[in-house]
Symmetry: C2
Subunit: 335 residues, 2 copies
């Protein structure tokens, strides 16, 4: 019996929260690499809010996943066999392997990683999440020492890194997250100056308390009412980084636009969108700096690892229910 | 009988469109200038959409007009008498004189103007409207030759100047305005490449037609549905200048936020608020350049002049009904 490859393919474009029926679980023989290709055994997959937007039809920053295609996902794996000159069996690699157990690749966009660092970290702080936080905060937010930086989705994979980098840059950092455990984690473990529990607090009022001089930089991962609340508290010249809008991704109607956007005018503030892929030529630079901070204990990583490819449909929903703390990773196989 | 000074004072904070009862028309003796002061006979007053926001309570970029106070307005007048060393009787001056026939001033913020240029121009192209267009477009929009620039409220005092400057800078310019007369004016008189009549056209569809390469710069004076339509047509790296939101100023509920703001992310675009007063140190530079363009016939001015202080409450509403073309000016007295 030849080994099999299990996969999750997109069966239908979801309306609202993705349902089990929007996926098709398929089984096929593990492919053989052809000349110039390698075969990767997927070990860990990165689960990201942006995956929800890839499931929609229509123009975005990358094409949508087609119906019937294996769901797109970044992952870390081990090379099983290689007919590609750049890779050998046993190498650990990072790439967009998809939600499946084995991936055949032509090597494009695949990079080797050093297995002395725990592999899930390559999907978190040293992966797309960390890169997003690094370039969004530093390149668009341009924080100055002493600035007040507010981060939403602060206990998520991007927010936790953005907040920690802002602390490293000498800012006052206030995180917004859901629930007392996450808020405690931000303040006690990551050294945020304050945390606001949006599930139990009046965010606008709490921002007034924790940001008495206004918000200089807002790193937005959530959109919706929280974006509107922060808009009421901007400092003059504030910079808002539009990194995501997780509160809106499963809307069946139109997104909620920020009703308080005229605060941009009153405060001469800006709101700028970012897509991390634009910074690909500089990933190495960021990874080196962040690995250095991690080695010095100044930047903490945290992954929320769930076992089993078969749990994928439910595990993905943890992101939209706010159930993960740190980077949500699906472990597909043992190393 | 000593001469009298008539004034419009704010009687109540309006809900929605300002009503006649929100104003109090008062009469008092013309004041005498004290030492260090001058007395100005007001000739022309600038009517601006922003005046509506000054009537609301609450934090904005300048304090609200207080109940019982003379309504704030910029104007041009002639000095009647002066005990201020910087001004003499007969001088023509520009300043924030308020909605009244005579204004006593300590000279702060008052500048002399050359009466060889028609005085209403100092409230239009060479006034706050022109300055707003100049700095908003050039400093925030940063248009490059060949860029597609879209202007809303394009037949208004700011929009018509912003569009003409964009043409001067080598851009393709599309104006959005209400009604065929305004649209014809933009294309035939001002040289815009195209105009969209938002009252009779599907703005989103028309933008696709007229901006095949997307919108690089959007100068927004109106907010609301038109902002949302433009957001669907952004080019990569687009810059949106938030100059005003005239469609929203008379809302009794919350403003309509731009539901399509996530287009900022997809297109790596930015949305930046501006308040012209920040550029006051550079008004002279802009006025010289724009006066030069006017002298060469490259920049046209247009004022919509309504006679009579007593018409103020109704005349102001022309702005919100889209009834003016060019700069709306109230003529208070003959020169």
């Amino acid at each position: 019996m030849s080994p099999t490859n299990h996969q999750f393919r997109l069966a239908a474009r979801p309306a609202g929260m993705p349902k089990r029926e929007d996926w098709k679980y398929t089984e096929e023989p593990v492919p053989e690499p052809r000349d110039g290709e390698l075969l990767v055994k997927v070990l860990y997959l990165s689960l990201d809010p942006a995956m929800r937007s890839w499931m929609n039809e229509g123009k975005s920053y990358i094409p949508p996943v087609g119906i019937g295609e294996v769901m797109r996902a970044a992952g870390v794996g081990r090379v099983v066999s290689s007919k590609h000159p750049g890779f050998s069996a046993g190498d650990h690699v990072l790439g967009v392997f998809g939600v499946q157990e084995y991936a055949r690749s032509d090597g494009k966009g695949v990079t080797q990683v050093d297995p002395r660092i725990p592999l899930p970290v390559y999907l978190g702080v040293l992966g797309i999440s960390g890169m997003t936080a690094y370039f969004g905060l530093l390149d668009i937010g341009k924080p100055n020492p002493g600035d007040t930086v507010v981060v939403s989705g602060a206990a998520g994979s991007v927010g936790m890194v953005a907040g920690q980098i802002a602390k490293l840059k000498g800012c006052r950092v206030v995180g917004i997250a859901g629930g007392p455990d996450k808020c405690r984690y931000l303040v006690e473990e990551l050294g945020f100056d304050a945390a606001i529990d949006y599930k139990s607090e009046d965010v606008k009022k709490a921002l007034r308390t924790h940001c008495p001089k206004g918000v200089d930089v807002y790193f937005d991962n959530v959109g919706g009412d929280i974006l509107d609340a922060v808009l009421t508290q901007l400092a003059r010249g504030a910079r808002i980084i539009i990194c995501g809008a997780i509160s809106q991704y499963n809307n069946t109607g139109p997104a909620k636009g920020p009703a308080n956007y005229m605060s941009l005018l009153v405060n001469r503030a800006s709101m700028t969108g970012m897509v991390v892929f634009d910074y690909a030529p500089r990933y190495g630079e960021a990874a080196r700096e962040m690995a250095g901070w991690m080695a010095q204990g100044k930047l903490k990583s945290r992954e929320d690892i769930v076992q089993g490819l078969e749990t994928f449909p439910d595990t993905l929903l943890k992101l939209f229910k706010g159930e993960n703390t740190g980077k949500l990773v699906l472990q597909v196989a043992r190393e």
